[in-house]
Subunit: 332 residues, 2 copies
């Protein structure tokens, strides 16, 4: 390993270490998103899949399997599976949120229509399901079926919790698991299972993915109140959409009467005037909830790192550990 | 069996013969559509599931399994699975078609919103997937995964074929298999497989479901040009939506220049004036395509009936055979 690699970001080091596997995953994704009869399907999918996503989830699966000594070939199927599930949820999310931009490009629902996004998402779910059946592991199927249910349930929960000031931290955590951590933890867990790893290692990989996903999502939510446009998400989106994220939940819990009226008007009723985002940011700062949320994200990242301590000493283990720090680097 | 039962519709006779199993299926559906954390999910699902659908698909699975001597319990899981897949596709279809009515009641997308329909549909897909994993049969999983992909592909194909006058009968058949026959044939096939039936019987059950589904859908499409409102679908919906169904495809193939201009304006461009539906009906009658389509539906129903001839002599087999005649009764 040369010096340049040593100082590269953990994500890029993973990508480099897994490059042969990732080539196989990308080939499988291209092959399986094809549809002989409905060319709209690969058009829509390619728009999203080839938009330069980080392929973080498939890399988690590949790394987990390799770290546990697996030599193939089914980790490739599972990596493609999790990327398809992820892509399908993005297509449906963009319809649900009426989004216009994703990964710096216009969304599929904007370029084609909501209809195409819904149906192509369904197609990718079905394709992901076919891919995992090919592994022949009922346990893997069980885990991914449960993850799919948690994802959908989390999305519905987020929808019904939106604009509800009584949303608790428990509910927030459930939404975060649905949005992000359920697929992260399934991705690492199935990597271990396909490799035939011991139960304790499988549990460690699952815990790693869960904690990593939670840290990742909390950071994302935090940046909505103070990040930069570089992440492809505009500051204030969650505020305008009335999403109850951790900094807000904590600030609402400490709000006096006037502040509560402010949150009720903006988040509860969606009546937002100029200057309200700045006022929200000021309240989060006043109550220290940006800072406490930052600390919560760092705690989860630390938990992710520690989860792996009993796994084999391996360069991939180091990269996964470093990845835990990396996902919180933007707020460190 | 009393006289009243003998003269009842095959659908009702099946319902009667399978009443214990259907009770178990309904209980499982209610149990599995629950979500502790997101009450919106059972609200939306119950609206659709309890709207008095005919439960035809789960009955097909139960009948196929029983006919092959199965004594349970996994036919119940599979019957609930196919009903969940069906319900999920209805939720997404109503979003895609912007429908206002389903089974004589306002659609979920009208009562709640498109967002709820998309996400609850996703949840039901995931739930159906969990249910089938519980059967522990990889072959069943493979069949249902393939059916799910065919369904989604058929929907996308229908979307892209809409308003396209060059649509062929082959494409139409593919759309029909996606919309209806893929789930019918998977429903009967997995019933045979869970019962451990011989390959030839499994093939016969699959062929039965396929032909029954095709007959069913052709009848539905035919009634769009001359049925009654009793089926909960308004005459002319397909015409207004620019769907290329069999009577139209055949009439377009025989159209002279003036007629082709008419179809191009109405179906191709969606510019429909008063009297155009009547004119379309007149052209279909002139070219005999309502009659030839009717004959095609009857042919498929006959094929469905004949598929079962090598299956055990059993009252359920008779009911399934009669069901094939019943689905085309509305046009006989």
């Amino acid at each position: 390993m040369d010096l340049a690699t040593d100082t590269a970001k953990p994500h890029d080091r993973l990508s480099e270490a897994l490059s042969d596997d990732m080539r196989a995953v990308n080939a499988m994704i291209r092959e399986r998103m094809a549809s002989e009869h409905a060319p709209r399907i690969p058009e829509v999918t390619a728009h999203l899949v080839e938009a330069g996503g980080k392929r973080l989830r498939p890399m988690l699966t590949l790394a987990a399997a390799r770290l546990c000594g697996y030599d193939g070939p089914h980790h490739v199927h599972l990596a493609a599976t999790v990327e398809f599930i992820h892509t399908a949820t993005l297509l449906h999310d963009d319809v649900v949120d009426d989004s216009k931009q994703r990964r710096g490009r216009p969304t599929a629902n904007l370029l084609w229509d909501n209809t195409s996004s819904v149906l192509v998402g369904d197609y990718l779910f079905a394709r992901s399901f076919q891919l995992m059946v090919e592994t022949g592991s009922l346990r893997v199927l069980d885990i991914l079926a449960n993850a799919s249910a948690t994802i959908a349930e989390g999305e519905v929960l987020q929808l019904t919790a939106s604009r509800n000031l009584d949303t608790t931290e428990d509910t927030y955590l459930r939404v975060v698991r649905g949005k992000t951590a359920a697929l992260f933890s399934a991705a690492t867990e199935v990597g271990g299972i396909i490799a035939g790893a011991s139960e304790s290692r499988v549990a460690a990989l699952r815990a790693y993915g869960d904690a990593l996903g939670i840290a990742f999502q909390i950071v994302d939510d935090l940046l909505d109140y103070g990040g930069t446009a570089a992440i492809g998400k505009s500051v204030g989106d969650d505020f305008r959409e009335g999403k109850l994220t951790l900094p807000v939940i904590r600030a609402v819990a400490q709000a006096d009467e006037t502040e509560r009226a402010f949150w009720t008007r903006c988040i509860g009723r969606g009546r937002i005037d100029e200057g309200d985002l700045a006022q929200a940011q000021a309240l989060l700062t006043k109550h220290g909830t940006l800072e406490s949320t930052r600390q919560t994200a760092l705690d989860w990242a630390g938990r992710a790192r520690r989860s792996l301590r009993d796994l084999p000493d391996h360069e991939l283990r180091e990269m996964l550990e470093d990845l835990a720090d990396y996902v919180v680097e933007r707020i460190s």
